[in-house]
């Protein structure tokens, strides 16, 4: 890649209010961010911006005013062609999170990522040229559409990167799953809602277990447990209690179960009192690995991972650290490594980690929601026979 290559990027976002994903991500391209001990300014230019919903709390107009070099566009096609007839950018930043969109009967927010993607690839097809595309979070709430997005990226042969910031943020401790390790059980304790932060929990698990011996083999079946069924499953040992305990011991935000104490380990009764609507996803990978994601709102406000690795009795564990601007911080810097990886993709034309990870977690999110909707039944997932190899190099934030 020549040093003189300075990519032009189009930004396509649902909305741009303070602390929306669109704001976090696009701002980093516009204003730079702290990286490797300096204020880093991406060596590329965001030249156009499409915002689907510009409401009263919008800040995109402020950004456009302060960055007159960015063209405000009223359609996605315009953002990609800059008003001409052909694709005129070297990369696209797609952020379809936040904004007012209807929910499905299963409660999934219908963020228009697929629709935006379709409009983007139409320009690619019409121009006979496809450029790297970053898609924030899962591919689509709808599995069929997600699969189509993936297939289209392969058909048109463009670099496609997606997913959560969880796999790439800081870890406390700063450890990665040893490449080629034997893993038979993995678990994440986290917080947030269904069809929302459950995806982040699934990506937390996936970015670790994909490094196991043989690589990812896909998922055969998933079952959700909610409310009373969750507590029953906990009592029955459906998932390994020591892994859950280890994950809770990595949290920095364990709700004190007792008044006057700032940090005590909760009993089962404490947990049942603190967590009003617990959700678990338990799923089986094709090679026998069992994974679990526990959404425990009211107990923690962070993402903690634990697994049994290489036959060791003691769990391997870490926290994927999100400096969350919910009062703890002012800047959601976990977007910085995500944007930095996207920058590398725009410069090199190669995705830094496989989009198959997010294809799988997209399918798992939808299947988990499906299991919940169908009364927490076991859902077979033959469509999730997704196999891939993790990158050898660790991609989480360490520098």
């Amino acid at each position: 890649m020549s040093n003189s290559f300075r990519p032009k990027l189009a930004g396509v976002v649902t909305t741009y209010f303070k602390y929306s994903h669109g704001q976090h991500i696009i701002d980093r391209f516009l204003d730079g961010y702290g990286w490797n001990g300096t204020h880093h300014r991406p060596e590329m230019d965001l030249v156009s911006l499409f915002v689907d919903q510009v409401g009263a709390t919008d800040f995109s107009r402020e950004r456009l005013k302060r960055h007159p070099e960015v063209k405000a566009c009223t359609t996605i096609a315009e953002a990609l062609t800059l008003g001409g007839s052909k694709l005129a950018v070297d990369g696209v930043v797609l952020v379809g999170e936040h904004g007012n969109y209807p929910r499905t009967e299963k409660g999934q927010v219908q963020y228009p990522r697929y629709q935006f993607f379709e409009q983007i690839v139409k320009v690619y097809r019409d121009s006979g040229k496809a450029v790297p595309l970053f898609n924030d979070k899962h591919l689509s709430w709808n599995w069929e559409w997600a699969r189509k997005m993936y297939d289209t990226s392969r058909e048109l042969k463009f670099a496609f990167m997606a997913g959560s910031s969880l796999p790439v943020t800081w870890r406390t401790p700063a450890v990665d799953m040893p490449l080629g390790a034997k893993v038979n059980e993995a678990l994440c304790v986290c917080y947030g809602g269904v069809d929302s932060y459950d995806f982040h929990g699934l990506e937390t698990v996936q970015c670790m277990v994909e490094r196991r011996r043989g690589g990812e083999t896909g998922v055969r079946a998933i079952q959700a447990y909610r409310g009373e069924k969750f507590w029953a499953a906990l009592r029955e040992g459906v998932w390994p209690r020591p892994l859950m305990n280890a994950a809770l011991c990595r949290s920095h935000t364990l709700t004190p179960a007792r008044e006057g104490f700032n940090h005590v380990f909760p009993t089962d009764d404490d947990m049942q009192r603190l967590v009003k609507d617990p959700v678990a996803y338990r799923y089986e990978h094709a090679d026998g690995l069992r994974s679990t994601v526990l959404l425990m709102n009211g107990l923690v406000k962070d993402f903690n991972f634990a697994a049994y690795v290489n036959g060791a009795r003691e769990p391997f564990s870490t926290q994927m650290y999100l400096p969350m601007p919910d009062g703890r911080t002012t800047l959601a810097n976990f977007f910085s490594p995500q944007v930095n990886h996207a920058e590398k993709m725009y410069l090199t034309g190669k995705a830094p980690y496989p989009v198959e990870r997010t294809l799988l977690t997209t399918g798992l999110t939808a299947a988990g929601v499906d299991s919940l909707f169908r009364g927490q039944v076991r859902v077979e997932t033959p469509h999730l026979a997704i196999q891939y190899q993790a990158p050898k190099e660790s991609t989480y934030w360490r520098t």
Binding site: D31, H39, T172, T330
Partner: protein, 413 residues
Amino acid sequence: MLTRRAFLQTTAIAAATAAPASPKRIAIVATVYRYLSHAQHMGDRFLVGYPHEGAWHHPDMKVVSLYVDQKPQGDLSAARAKEFGFEVYPSIAEALRCGGKELAVDGVLIIAEHGNYPRNDKGQVLYPRYEFFQQVAAVFEKDGHSVPVYNDKHLSYSFEKAKSMVETSRRLRFPMLAGSSIPVTWRLPSIDLPLGCVIEDALMVGEGGSDAMDFHALEGLQCMVERRGRGESGVKAVQMVEGDAVWKAGVEGRYSKELLTAALSRSDTPLGLTVADGRTQDLVGSGELQKIVKNPAAYFVEYRDGLKATMLMLDGAVRDFNFAARLKGVGQPVSTQFLLTPEPNVTYSACLMNKAEEMLSTGVAPYPVDRTLLVSGILESCLTSKVQGHSRLETPHLQVTYKAPSLPQFSRT
């Protein structure tokens, strides 16, 4: 000099406590024990355990006595004593002797932060750490036996008192550990300076005012720079300036803008425009820093081996603690954030109590108390500079020399 009688008692106690079935007996000497006071969140670690290396760890120790100097509204001392089966004693000596005639504990935690105590003309809160320590040491001396002592935060607001504390610990031959949780908490990124490195310049950014948070920031600086060259050589002069003089010093190159940018690049809490609309900021490059920091303070530290380091208190700019240094032979500045995890868990205090536990259980302090002695002196002299017209002060008394521990001591596993 131990008397024969005291020696026999010492060995008797040692023999009693060496039995595997009897956990170490701990006395806590605190100013106050109310929710989220240091005594509560540190002392409780020995009562209810704490997370360590991915497991809930219960120290093999038993708190057997507590002394609290003040019992304000919200005092938890009586409730804790009742629940965990120990006594609250009306004096430090009685707490150490558990109401008996001889020292009856294997370790002492002095946690004298929080509570109502007056301030001196330098703005230092006169927490009675020295006074508590003296009473602890008096028991050791009288009873002819000493046990490890952990002292939370700086040793004393007064370097002379702090020095006397360290000398007493050496004279009576007991291990002593002190200081802030900043040196031992998680770091983002998880780095330490290479032992023996050559530091060309170092800068620390802190916030939260004096005298409390400036101590933490100075200890953050010290735990990094002590790893240089042949070890710590002591400090020959300090100066503290405030207000516009801080920006002027920056223009004059008295501290490095590159290092300031590096330190701030590690922050997760930039204020000003970030609070207004969420944007990222290059606070130095944009000039916003001067606008949002109403009363900056710079603490200039000149070490005896020639290193000059700066600690900037930038209230209004950020709400976290970040360090940067330029090392000889390394192209880019080295920088990191000392992660102060959120309330109420404040897990950094678990990191610190793990170090205290290590000392209480092994009898060896994991890092030298001289660090905290030096920082106690740097802080006092900087605040003297402040009240003496922000003048530069020679500090011949700060010839505190020591070696940093060879292994990193911060939380990383």
